[in-house]
Amino acid sequence: MDERLDWEAALAATGVTVKVDRSVRLVALRYFDAGGFGERLRTALGEGIPAPLGFNRGRYGAAEDPFMLVWRSPTECWLLSATAAPIEAISREIAGFGDACLIDQTGGILALRVEGSRTLDLLHRLGSVDSVPRAGEASTGRFADISVTAVGLATTEFLMLVERGHVVHLLGWIRETLTDF
């Protein structure tokens, strides 16, 4: 089989590693009224809608399940979590609520974790500096000619959230770049 299609393996070069994180569950939360929905989100998870171009991290329940809320657009944020519990919590909260919906995108949107001292060097070879969020920010832009939501966990650690169909392309671009790193 074509090695390009095997995207589960990690890529690495001096100063950076890239790995698809298959533990991530991802649901899209969509809302007409950010205020009202934000309240419900806070009730369910203890965290509100992230500020524009931002993300929040929190922990849910007795098990302290970590989750993350990533801003996408004025009417959408994504909830990322390794466990089902936070997703079920918000799902329960908005059931029957006519102003917001939850759409499971797990598996349809994949998370790449990019880490290492040369993370920014890699990102600037994938897209414009304008499109790379600062540490503590999250935004969507053009990387490797496709749309990617980037989450700046730190200057040396980013999540890249990408539509599954594009992951081979994105990793291909990264692989070529790292070859010349």
């Binding site: 524009p52 171009l53 996408r72 657009s73 004025p74 414009s128 304008d130 499109s131 935004s139 969507t140 832009g141 053009r142 496709i146 749309s147």
Partner: protein, 88 residues
């Protein structure tokens, strides 16, 4: 390559966007005349100068917004929301 100020995300390279052409066109009712319908669909001022146009941050936040741009120099003067009236 222009650098376009997305109303939500800030400055981004032009190739993250889609240009939707002239903004503030008023869609006629279904009983409009053929002439009025053609005016709406096809006829444009196409100015050499300032142009009110709409853009979508397609590869970013997905939002449509308006901007005023000079079609000769490509200078961008103003950005405003889709539902706002053009600035005077």
């Amino acid at each position: 390559m222009m650098r376009i100020p997305c109303i939500v995300c800030g400055l981004r390279d032009e190739n993250e966007f889609t240009c939707g052409g002239t903004s503030h066109l008023v869609r006629p009712a279904i009983d409009a005349s053929d002439r009025d319908w053609a005016e709406y669909l096809f006829f444009r001022d196409n100015p050499k100068g300032l142009h009110h146009e709409r853009w979508r941050h397609t590869q970013g936040c997905g939002q449509w917004f308006n901007l005023v741009r000079h079609t000769l120099t490509h200078e961008i003067l103003t950005v405003y929301a889709m539902t706002e009236s053009p600035p005077r």
